[in-house]
Symmetry: C2
Subunit: 311 residues, 2 copies
Amino acid sequence: MSEFDLISRYFATKFPQRPDVDLGIGDDAAVCTIPPNMQLVTAIDTLVADVHFPLTTKPEDIGYKALAVNLSDMAAMGATPVWMTLALTCPEFNEVWLQKFSEGLLEIAQLNQVSLIGGDTTRGPLTITIQIAGLVPSNTVLKRNGAKPGDSIYVTGTIGDAGLGLQAVKQQIVLSKLAKKYTLSRLNRPTPRLAEGQKLLKVANSAIDISDGLVADLGHILKASNVGASLQIDNLPLSNELLESVPYEVAIELALSAGDDYELCFTIPESEILPINSCTYIGKIETDLGLRCVTKTGDIFIPKANGYQHF
Amino acid sequence: MSEFDLISRYFATKFPQRPDVDLGIGDDAAVCTIPPNMQLVTAIDTLVADVHFPLTTKPEDIGYKALAVNLSDMAAMGATPVWMTLALTCPEFNEVWLQKFSEGLLEIAQLNQVSLIGGDTTRGPLTITIQIAGLVPSNTVLKRNGAKPGDSIYVTGTIGDAGLGLQAVKQQIVLSKLAKKYTLSRLNRPTPRLAEGQKLLKVANSAIDISDGLVADLGHILKASNVGASLQIDNLPLSNELLESVPYEVAIELALSAGDDYELCFTIPESEILPINSCTYIGKIETDLGLRCVTKTGDIFIPKANGYQHF
């Protein structure tokens, strides 16, 4: 089977069709129309086998996650995702693998009405790069650099779960059946907080998604905004599955540093009404630079790790 | 050095700045504005080490070519390139390699005024994926599927040179110093035919860039347009360097099947005035399906290979 048959069999026809895609897969490039008064938002993210996911990961989960992490970038900007392009490098043409990979990718694409408008398939070590495009009403996009002293800091959902799931996959910990199922789902099929991001437009001063860990990613907001923060670590939203599986201190470390949860961290002026429910207050933006983690008894807490470093 | 330092040192600041980029590198995604009455054109292409380029290729040439092949897709659509995102996977943080890679990328980006608006750097086997965005006036884009019986078929520049260069790199052939220099330049630093593509808007019925070989790529036009063609193989534009280095029949085979030249192949109604000079008439679109290669004596010629197959 040629590269071209491969693309058309697995990818070209099954994905959501959108009226703003004027020319999709099958030419040298895709052609789309952007509505007036909207800005284009684009990001690109790569998953490398054995680096971003263990080699034992199911192909349908790889397909799902590859798009999920890109959608999470759209969520952090408050954008509505519309189209993607896929660069898939795989060591061989494995029909079963490709079918399952495309099923996972298709599932999350359908959930979010994202069209697949182009791609490139190449031979080589397994690497999946997705480039996502989204739209926002002009001049409303959420950025990292708008945090102001006095802003309240919130995080959606719970954090630390994916980190625990990764420990279980690596057989560094044995979990209960329920905890394993839950944390693996969090690791392999993260939920991009798209609806939450869109509701935060015009309300939040800054936002980011938590891919490298709360300390690292909140750190990006602080650096870009030239502010500091104090974090109430006993306020961190931890799942029951996490709390039941490891000592409290370990749960806190995972929540602060493990990453891969793809929740949103955002800051919002105290005067604004919170437009979403599923989020937790975790601290305050301050004038003093740096991040101070504080326990409920007022003690300073120093996290052991600072988030995922790629090199 | 962290991933973030790496991005800002080598990539964030040096590339052409454009007024339509509202938010560039450094957030979760980039934000751009599309002018009214223009369509967005996007493509994505991956180069894998030891598959798309030999491991001995200079990093500055890898950087140059990674963007060149994407720009060639823009040329084939008649689009003007504007922005790119880069997904770079490399096995280690090698400062010398990264600097040289970014120099090559920067050189061709500056030549074509392309902004680098985002990226992802990951650890893994060397793989470079670039996603390119371009603009065309609405409803003028060049497609593969518009070829009509009676159209004249043209190709820009000369073809077969990059294929000969690859044979030299692989030490399958010994070339004169001049021929080696020329064909390696064609292999490592292809020239995307952007000006030619833009001039063909509203004139050509179909266009494609030659990445997999003339037979394979013209074949895509024929299939998409549901037509056939006859090709005058003795008309194929061959460089002196190619003709001096190999027997005529080998030169023809390289021109038909080797690929990697990134010239444009396009079809144009006989009644239209050719809007560019640097191109050669090579055949006619016909109603009968299939591709017929004919010599100047009228004999049928059957190419040995059919173009690059990725799997």
